[in-house]
């Protein structure tokens, strides 16, 4: 979160200040990627990049505080995920994988990142995302939006089209389920 500087940073970014945009991007991108890796493990990087393209296009028109900004960023990302899913269902042949993989082959020794290869330096983060991804989708998404996006219950409710009560219940169930999963790991080690 950017905090009290947010309004100034946003205004500067809207006027073309690259350092300000850098701050917005570096603040939002890691959370966005982790969210996407949980809800759409295939192509999270691509969807994040598309999300920023959309956000940059609309940036000058955006009005709001940091909560609104985060809500917009994650709503945009979620739309991209939904669009991608629809596209894949309509035309299975044009999956993201079928797009020319530009220069990947030109970079010897580099592996293609995929869901199973979320090679974060931080093993704890990776494991945490793995365990969250095992929750039922709504619970996982609600937890990611609450914790990673930093959105409150009302904002998540608006984003997902559900009541705040439903969001709260999903989050609580998710955390309890999480506790069970961790306890199971304890037993089976």
């Amino acid at each position: 979160m950017i905090g009290e500087d947010f309004a100034a940073v946003l205004t500067a970014a809207q006027q073309g200040d690259e350092a300000a945009f850098a701050r917005l991007w570096h603040d939002g991108q890691p959370a966005l990627l982790r969210y996407l890796h949980v809800i759409a493990p295939d192509g999270a990087e691509d969807i994040a990049a598309e999300t920023w393209t959309h956000v940059v296009r609309g940036l000058a028109r955006f009005r709001g505080n940091e909560q609104n900004w985060r809500a917009w960023l994650f709503t945009t990302a979620r739309r991209r995920v939904i669009d991608q899913t629809r596209q894949l269902m309509r035309r299975p042949a044009t999956s993201l994988e079928a797009l020319p993989d530009l220069t990947l082959a030109d970079l010897p020794g580099l592996r293609s990142p995929d869901a199973a290869d979320l090679a974060l330096e931080n093993l704890a983060t990776r494991a945490a995302m793995e365990v969250i991804a095992r929750l039922p989708p709504l619970q996982a998404e609600v937890i990611m939006l609450r914790v990673m996006a930093g959105l409150d219950t009302e904002a998540v409710g608006l984003l997902l089209g559900r009541s705040p009560g439903a969001i709260r219940i999903a989050a609580h169930r998710g955390l309890h389920r999480l506790a069970s999963l961790l306890a199971e790991a304890e037993v089976t080690r």
Partner: protein, 278 residues
Amino acid sequence: MTDPSVPDRDMPTFPWSTQPQAGALDALLSGHAKPEETPAELRPVAEVLVALQAPPDQREVAGWEAALTVYRELAGRPGTPGRPRSPRARSRRRRSIASLLSARVAAAAGAAAIAVLGGGVAAAYTGSLPAALQRFAHVVIAAPRVHESTAGPAPAGTGHGVGPSADGSAAYGLCNAYQHAEEHGNASQRAVAFRNLVNAAGGAGQVAAYCASVPHPGPTSPPGRRVGQTASPADTNHGRKPTAPPGKPTTPPGNGNGNGNGNGNGGGNGNGNGHGKK
């Protein structure tokens, strides 16, 4: 109201509606939970949520170059935000979108880099999984098994040792992590950083003296390096072969010098603030 002929065990129990826990769950979700106030059965969950919010690593910000290109193309044009004005601009825009499609390439390149943004903080987490999470990781992603001997001599009462052993560069990382969490972290991050540090220093009262005595790891770091900005190889290479020559700033491929210079203050700020919420 409390008729003993009605045993409690006959009551339906829905874990998510258990009121005493609901408050703790909400606190966890909003990042306001204090570990010492988190019920024991929820501590592994709290550790997962903290791990989820760990500082970004290099790979996660590998798409910056491409994003900046798009920003330069589309933003900051008074009057016509987001609308290229000429065919030439349109073609440049197509190129930048193509470069976005290669974000995954950039991400792969980032994975090859060793630099970790938020250095000390990341170092405090890297290789040190909370016990419950490590067991989980072992089950699902074949992480190295938890060794009791490496779990660390956690003082009695803390239950779970988090964090690397605190000597050498790890100690620097812990102090750095704590300082960073104090300035930028949320409550749970502060708490974890502090707990790690207290464990390492041997008591809450020893922390200041402990950190004062910790040398900066290695003579290889560039002078004037800002805390929490870049990690020296010693900070992040727990038992791994360094892939960057010592003394050289570890800029990843695909995130080149132009970027590093162009947004020195912006990137630095962003890193510092992108680790969690207040």
